[in-house]
Each structure stands twice: as C-alpha cells, then as structure tokens.
C-alpha cells in the first residue's frame, strides 16, 4: 500500500474530512450559519480534486484491486458532487422541518463520499459495504425532521432497503460460489466460461442482483418506497435521492453488469439484457400511469422518476449489443437528468417555502407571480417530457438510438414502448406546465425566491439548454467514461 492508493480515493477522503469538520464546527460554534459555507467549501475542494484527477487522466487500482479509478469513476464523482452542491446551495428554504443543520450537511457529505467509493469499488465486499453505507446515511436523512411523516418515510425506506440489501447479498453469494472470488475481474472470467450446468445459478444470481440495485435505481417492481419516501422526506433530501442516489444506482448497475457479468459477450448477457428490457418497459408504463393521477407534485415527481428510470434502463438493455453505446447513453442521460431534476425540484422547494404546500393547484398562474421561476420550471418539464431543444430530448434520443442500433427485434419493440410512454408522460408534464402558464393564480401576490435558489435555478436552466443545443462535451465525456468500463 502506498500513498497513491489514497490519491485514488482523494475526493472521497476530502468529503469525509469535510463532514467531520462540519460536525466539529457545529459543535464548537453552535451557530448554524457556519456549517453551510463549510459544506460548500468541502464540495468545491472535492470537485477540484476530482477535476485534477480527470485532467491528469488518473487511472489504476489500489487496495488489492478493491478500488479503482478511471474516467468512469471520475465522471460519476463529478456528477455526484455537482448534485450535492446544488442541494447544499439551494436546499436551505426546504429545510424548515429539519432542526439539526450540522448533522444534515455532514450526513449529506458522507453519503456523497460513500457513493463515490461505490462507483470506484471493484470487489463484491467493497461494493456491498459502500452500498450499505450509502443506504444507511439516506435512511437517516429521510428520517430527519420534526414530524411523523418523515419518521414514517424513514422507517419504510429502512425496511424495504434492508430487504433489498439481503436480496443483493444472496446474489453476491451465488456469484462468489461460482467464481470463488469476490473480485469483479475474476467473476467476469468465470461467468464467461459458464456452461449449461452453472447457468441457472448465474441467472438466479443476476436476477437477485438486479433486484438489489433496482431498489437504488427505483425501477418497478422495486419502487414501492418511492412515493411515500419522496413525499415524507424534506424536499432537499428528496432531490438528493432522486438525482444522486439514482445516479449511483445506475453507476453500480453498469459496473456490476458490464464489468462483472462481462458486457455483451458472455453466455448470459442476452438474458440479463432482456430482464432489464422488461423492467424498463414495466417501469415506464406503471410510473407514467401512476404519475397521471397525482395531485401532490412531490409524489408526481416521484412516479415520474420511476418512469425516467425505465427510460435509462433501456440503455442497460442495449448493453446486449456489446457496444459501449448503451453505457455511454446511460451516463449521458444521468447527467442531463440531474440538471433537469435539480431544476424542477429546486423550483418545487422555492414554491413550497412560499406557499407551504406541494399541491399541483398551488402552481396556478406561477408565471404571473414569479416569472423567472415559472420559466425554469416549464423548461425542466419540457426536458423531462423529452422535447427539443432541451437536453432531455437528446438524452432520450441517444438512449433509444443505442437500443435500435443493436438491431435486435425485441430492442426495437422496447423503443416503441418507450416512445409511446413519452407521449403518455407528456400529458401530466404539460398539464403541469399549462397550470403554471395559463391558469388564474389563487393568490396573485408576486414573490422572489432567495438569491442562492435563483443562482442554482439559472445554472440548471442553462445546463438543460446548453446540453440540449451543444451536447458534444458531455457526450464525449460519457463516451470515454463508458469506454473505461469495459
């Protein structure tokens, strides 16, 4: 073990050190005001560190091959840091129900660090421990808050999460039995040589693993926790879950299935690709059908995130073709989805802080009350629907294209289902947009969100537009990240 090993996990170490500092600062000064800038500073330092790694094209493995760093991990790390930074900067108005700010920010940083380690892990033990750390922090974050709703959401999340962890572990144990090793590289070799006699064990293993990580990705039928948890948690926590946790879930799914189960060229890859195809189709359809009936915007966005997870899973199914087009599309989608979802949720925080409720009807005539806010929110809704010139359009196009390129009949049908679902989702996204733009406001008093919220909203809107018009930088980054996976 040498110092380089610690350089590889540097950004995560910075975040964890920052988390401890935040706690100490909270303890020493007893003043809330100092913790948020400290958290921002920590995130900036970690981002800088990750950017240096990216610039130097750092790559390699450490700790006996349990941890690695490459373009994929750096892409995920930067994405997670940006999401967390947006939550820290603009989340404050949504935290009225959370008293313990020091603990909140410290846990947020710890969760980001463990998700970064999760993306870097290349060993089943390391993956499981990192995943459990991520989950444990999130159970606590969801449960923070003064009211019974947060406690209920936290408990529900904990119980379903514990079952998901157990199922994932069953899958890991089977893989370990087949390969005799916990290293993903060894497992990939063993799975590539799978004969008919171990086939069932491999299939059961990846079905169980898909269930375990499907919980993190929030795809049907592992989604039952989403609406209650999204509604019950403080909105900044919901933002964090919907953007960061989902990104980490897909990152680890890519790592496990692409690196561990051998991408497109093992005897079982066609099987698990079809599994993700079915999960994707069911997620999209059920998510959209449920979202149509919601009147609470946080529940609506919860079901919408389930449907979007289905869209992203189309990219996972496309892995069956063996090209890196599928993973690249998934990573690109995650990037644009983060910008879009952050914009929408932070607008929801701003409106919720003003109105005190998250009901759809309270958005009536928002355009006349707070034009800037309304325009950003509508833009994000257009991007969630997948209409040009937003980033959401290109993300969907890219994911669907990766599936069609495979040339397999069932992938084409999957894309047909996905396109049909896009039309379905347009109904509730655009209905919300119409409420904002055209309806008569219940309370015509204009209002201005805080400056920090405005800054993040502007950044999100610019991101959504920029990557919708000039996607090349992000697509190139996603491509080289996907190439590092193989």
């Amino acid at each position: 073990m040498n110092l380089e090993a610690f350089h590889f996990i540097g950004p995560a170490i910075v975040l964890l050190a920052g988390a401890v500092l935040v706690l100490l600062a909270d303890l020493a000064t007893g003043r809330r005001a100092c913790v948020r800038p400290l958290a921002m500073l920590t995130l900036a330092a970690a981002a800088l560190y990750a950017a240096t790694q990216a610039a130097a094209d750092t790559g390699g493995q450490a700790f006996g091959g349990a941890i690695g760093v490459d373009r994929f991990t750096i892409y995920v790390a930067l994405l997670l840091i940006v999401i967390t930074a947006a939550v820290v900067v603009a989340g404050e108005p949504g935290l009225t129900r959370v008293a313990q700010r020091g603990e909140f920010y410290a846990l947020l940083l710890a969760s980001t660090a463990s998700m970064m380690l999760l993306a870097q892990a290349r060993d089943l033990v390391a993956i499981f421990v990192a995943l459990e750390t991520t989950s444990a922090v999130q159970y606590i974050l969801v449960g923070l808050g003064r009211d019974a709703r947060a406690s209920e959401a936290g408990l529900k999340y904990l119980l379903t999460g514990a079952i998901a962890a157990a199922v994932l572990l069953y899958g890991f144990v089977l893989l370990f039995g087949i390969a005799g090793s916990t290293s993903l590289a060894d497992i990939s070799r063993a799975v590539a040589e799978t004969g008919d006699e171990t086939r069932l064990a491999v299939v059961v293993a990846f079905v169980l693993i898909a269930a375990g990580v499907g919980f993190k990705m929030a795809i049907v039928p592992f989604h039952a926790w989403v609406p209650d948890v999204y509604q019950g948690a403080a909105t900044p926590v919901t933002v964090f879950l919907s953007a960061a946790s989902k990104a980490a879930g897909f990152a680890i799914a890519l790592r496990l299935f692409y690196t561990g189960l051998g991408g497109g060229d093992t005897p079982v890859s066609a099987d698990w690709a079809k599994l993700f195809g079915v999960l994707a189709a069911v997620s999209m359809t059920l998510g959209n059908l449920a979202a149509i009936q919601q009147t609470d915007v946080k529940r609506l966005l919860g079901y919408s995130s389930i449907a979007q997870a289905g869209n992203i899973a189309v990219g996972l199914a496309a892995v069956a073709t063996g090209s890196t087009l599928g993973p690249a599309a998934v990573l690109f989608f995650l990037g644009t989805y983060a910008a879009t979802n952050l914009g929408a949720f932070i607008a929801v925080i701003a409106v919720g802080a003003r109105v005190g409720s998250d009901e759809l009807r309270d958005y009536a005539g928002l355009l006349r009350r707070s034009p800037g806010l309304a325009i950003v929110l509508v833009l994000c809704l257009l991007s969630l629907t997948g209409l040009p010139p937003t980033a959401g359009f290109l993300a969907k196009l890219y994911v669907f294209n990766s599936a069609v390129q495979g040339g397999e009949q069932w992938l084409v049908w999957l894309v047909v289902v996905a396109v049909f679902n896009t039309a379905l989702s347009a109904y509730y996204y655009l209905r919300w947009a119409r409420t904002i733009l055209l309806d008569e406001p219940l309370d015509p008093a204009p209002f201005q969100p805080p400056a920090a919220t405005n800054a993040v909203l502007t950044a999100a809107a610019l991101g959504v537009l920029f990557f919708g018009i000039v996607p090349t930088p992000l697509i190139d980054a996603a491509r080289s990240a996907a190439a590092a996976l193989a």
């Binding site: 073990m1 996990i9 964890l16 706690l23 007893g30 700790f63 006996g64 349990a66 941890i67 008293a99 313990q100 603990e103 410290a106 846990l107 710890a110 463990s114 380690l117 892990a121 060993d123 033990v125 390391a126 499981f128 421990v129 990192a130 459990e132 750390t133 444990a136 922090v137 159970y139 606590i140 449960g143 923070l144 003064r146 406690s151 936290g154 069953y170 089977l174 039995g177 087949i178 005799g180 004969g195 006699e197 171990t198 086939r199 069932l200 064990a201 299939v203 059961v204 293993a205």
Partner: protein, 210 residues
C-alpha cells in the same frame, strides 16, 4: 398455513411445553442421524453438519414462528450457534468464534436489552399483515430458486484449509482495508443518525443545549 404455536403465558408451563415440543421434533431427527452414523451411512463431518444444519433451521423457524419475542430471540441464538458449528467444520475457527461472540452473544443480548429498555410488552405481539400469504408465496419461490440453482450448478470442489489468525489479519487489513474502513464509517453515521433522530426536539425558542 401453519398456525402459530399457542403458548400459554405462564413461564413454567411454557418451558415445559416448549421443551416437550422441541424434544418431540428434535429427538427423532437426532435418532435418525445417530443410526445413520452408526451404520456408516454418514461420515463424522457429515453427522456434525446435519446436526448443526438442524439447529440452524430449527432456530430460524423458532425465531420466525414463536409469538413471544424473547423466545424468538432465544431461537436466534440457537441458529447462530448452529452457524458457528458449520464454520468450525469448514476450519474457520475465527469466524466460528466471532459468530458465537458477536451474534450468539452480543447481538442477541443487545436485542434483549433493547426490548427491556423500551418496555416492550413481553407478551405475544401480533405481527401479521395482509401481505402474509403473498410473502409466504414469494419466500417459497425464492427458496425453490435457490435450491434449484444450488443443486443445478457444479460447484468447485470444497477444499478446506485452515487459515490462521495471522493470515486472516493480513487479508483483512491489507486486501480488504477499504471495506473495513468504510464499515467504520457506517458505524459513525449510524451513531450520529441514532442520536439525531432519537434526541428530543427542542421547542422553538428553547435553548438547544438544555
């Protein structure tokens, strides 16, 4: 479906009945194993394995089926001890020790302390829900898949090697250093979380330090 065992409230009668019931179920099992062992059908390690496997399954069933939560916890101890025995059979003495100390001892004692501290009623607690038949079905399907997969696969030949504490330490702290450290992070955040959530919320205006 299995009816819950109707245990009376009095401890002495409970113990008598439980003991009787356990011996009625366990005695034939042990007798059959003993006969098989005596006639040479089972080798000594196999005999020990089936004995421990019976303890694990019986303990797990007791933990799930018994209504009295303290009895269920004791069933858990039995299951942990059985697992420890199987670890010993695999020459993993360290794991066996940890299993007894941490699971058989620590975790269960903590569980019992937790029950006492929170003044949980030590009478029967109804934990049924509408999902019970569904959960039962899902459990059966899952178990069938596992058994099928395990019987179907050709596992590598089992080679039992004794791993000394020294090698184990080297593996644990060098090769698995990162998972080990991350596990300590779990403990840290769990501690912070437990305190944060359990702490009485100060009313608005009240000093936080009181």
């Amino acid at each position: 479906m299995l009816r819950r065992l109707p245990l009376p409230a009095q401890i002495d009668r409970t113990i008598t009945l439980g003991g009787l019931l356990a011996s009625v179920v366990a005695a034939p099992y042990i007798v059959v194993l003993g006969v098989l062992f005596a006639t040479g059908e089972l080798s000594a390690p196999e005999f020990v394995f089936w004995l421990n496997a019976g303890l694990v399954v019986g303990g797990a069933l007791a933990a799930v089926l018994l209504r009295h939560i303290v009895h269920a916890a004791l069933g858990l101890v039995g299951a942990s001890l059985g697992v420890a025995g199987i670890f010993l059979l695999l020459a993993s003495e360290f794991l066996a020790l940890v299993q007894v100390l941490v699971y058989g001892g620590g975790v269960t004692i903590l569980l019992l302390f937790g029950l006492m501290m929170t003044r949980a009623t030590d009478g029967p607690i109804v934990t049924d829900g509408a999902q019970k038949p569904f959960a039962f079905g899902a459990g059966i399907v899952l178990a069938g898949l596992f058994v099928g997969a395990m019987l179907d696969a050709e596992w590598d030949a089992l080679n039992v090697t004794v791993v000394g504490f020294r090698e184990l330490g080297i593996r644990l702290y060098r090769d698995f250093g990162i998972p080990f450290e991350v596990a300590s992070l779990v403990l840290l955040v769990a501690l912070i979380g437990a305190i944060t959530i359990a702490r009485r919320e100060p009313a608005p205006g009240e000093d936080d330090s009181k």
